[in-house]
């Protein structure tokens, strides 16, 4: 019954802009076990965490410019958990020597009314997919190895087919803007995963 603290200043003033540092690669299904085995050795967890998620990508078409993209993700293995809404900004250009892809990232936990709410805001679902795999952690570094599957009937996550014969491997760190040592740590970790997987900075625009 104690009063929660009341802040006089608005919470939005001076929010730290979080940046996502990302390296991506892929591994053929035949080599997946070896990669998981090496990651188990290099990372913190005793046993890696398994996940099964359903992600929906929403677009808001404005009057001009590129459509605004939001990613809404929910867990298939924990249906009562909140939805995770994610906004990723344009990759920061400039420092070519920087080893990882850097972009602004906003993560919001949201209630189960998220899809209806996004539709009311004007967003339309562009595509959806199911991702299943493992999460490993090493300090602030997160490694996600996921098998992506196409959803054949919209909304039906039981009926899926794999997108490819590989799994996607992503090494990422969420840090406040300006921490340049992060990409160095990521590069040295990525070195330890060679030659099982080659993690590199992949510019999403070049593949559109």
């Amino acid at each position: 019954m104690e009063a929660p603290p009341v802040s006089v200043m608005p919470v939005t003033g001076g929010t730290i802009n979080m940046m996502e540092y990302l390296l991506q690669g892929s591994v053929l299904d035949q080599a997946l076990e070896s990669l998981l085995h090496r990651l188990r050795g290099l990372c913190d967890n005793m046993e890696p965490e398994i996940f099964a998620d359903h992600e929906l990508v929403y677009l808001l078409k404005g009057q001009q410019g590129n459509p605004f993209l939001l990613r809404a993700r929910r867990s298939l293995s924990h249906p009562a958990a909140p939805w995770h809404l994610r906004y990723l900004g344009q990759p920061e250009v400039g420092d070519k020597s920087r080893h990882a892809l850097v972009r602004n990232c906003v993560d919001v936990a949201a209630s189960h009314s998220l899809p209806d709410f996004l539709n009311e805001m004007g967003f339309r679902m562009d595509h959806e997919f199911v991702a299943k795999g493992h999460i490993f952690r090493r300090g602030a570094l997160k490694v996600v190895v996921s098998k992506l599957s196409r959803v054949l009937v919209p909304g039906n996550t039981e009926n899926t087919e794999p997108l490819s014969l590989s799994s996607l491997v992503e090494l990422s760190v969420l840090a406040p803007a300006g921490q340049d040592t992060v990409s160095e740590d990521m590069r040295s970790f990525a070195e330890q995963l060679k030659p099982l997987v080659h993690l590199e900075k992949i510019d999403p625009k070049r593949h559109m």
Binding site: A3, P4, V6, T12, T15, G62, L85, V108
Partner: protein
């Protein structure tokens, strides 16, 4: 989190907003209520830009309640609502070219929080663009989450300090498909504040009450 009732208190005869609030605080203290900190509830309005001409602009309200400091509630009047964490405000900043913040429309209720046994009473001065527009009173009966079970008790309690100005049963409870026996949640409280803020916005600025 219990059953909450939010109502607007009319100004006492010949008194200002602050004076009316002080009179109410005295009544609560005489009753035996203890002041326990302060509270604030605010509501920001966003207009959707880029709508086809001829269509009415959709209004998106983003509300915060100090009782749940890490959350915010986003809703369309009469439409779906979303409970999200504090980062939703940051996301609205990123969406500024699609949703414009009508800064002059921000309404806020701020005041003291009183506790009397199992009740929480919050009396706030409702302000818009720093001018006082009215008084909100929120009464929460904490042990119960079903309005049908405690509405009579709440009415009796409110009568002891609000006198004749006690409100009717809030329409958020009676308009639910399961009626008065559906458990409440924070969305019901915020919907009541939204209705109050909407009435206050439409009212004229009260004479002699600008602070």
């Amino acid at each position: 989190m219990g059953v909450t009732c939010v109502c607007q208190l009319p100004l006492a005869e010949g008194k200002s907003v602050q004076q009316t609030i002080d009179i109410l605080h005295k009544k609560l203290e005489q009753l035996g209520a203890v002041k326990q900190g302060s509270f604030t509830v605010d509501c920001e309005t966003y207009h959707a830009t880029g709508n086809a001409s001829g269509q009415p602009t959709k209004l998106l309200y983003v509300m915060h309640n100090s009782e749940t400091p890490l959350s915010c509630l986003a809703l369309f009047e009469g439409g779906p609502c979303l409970t999200a964490d504090g980062n939703f405000d940051v996301l609205m900043i990123k969406l500024k070219s699609h949703f414009q913040n009508a800064k002059g429309h921000k309404v806020e209720s701020r005041g003291s929080r009183y506790r009397y046994c199992d009740f929480l009473i919050k009396v706030g001065a409702v302000t818009m663009s720093s001018s006082a527009r009215g008084i909100s009173v929120e009464v929460e009966y904490c042990p119960c989450v079903v309005p049908g079970d405690c509405w009579n008790l709440m009415k009796e309690f409110m009568q002891s300090f609000l006198g004749p100005s006690i409100p009717e049963l809030p329409s958020v409870f009676s308009s639910k498909p399961e009626g008065l026996y559906a458990p409440v949640d924070c969305v019901d409280t915020m919907t009541q504040y939204l209705e109050l803020f909407g009435r206050v916005r439409k009212q004229q600025v009260l004479p002699g009450t600008t602070r």
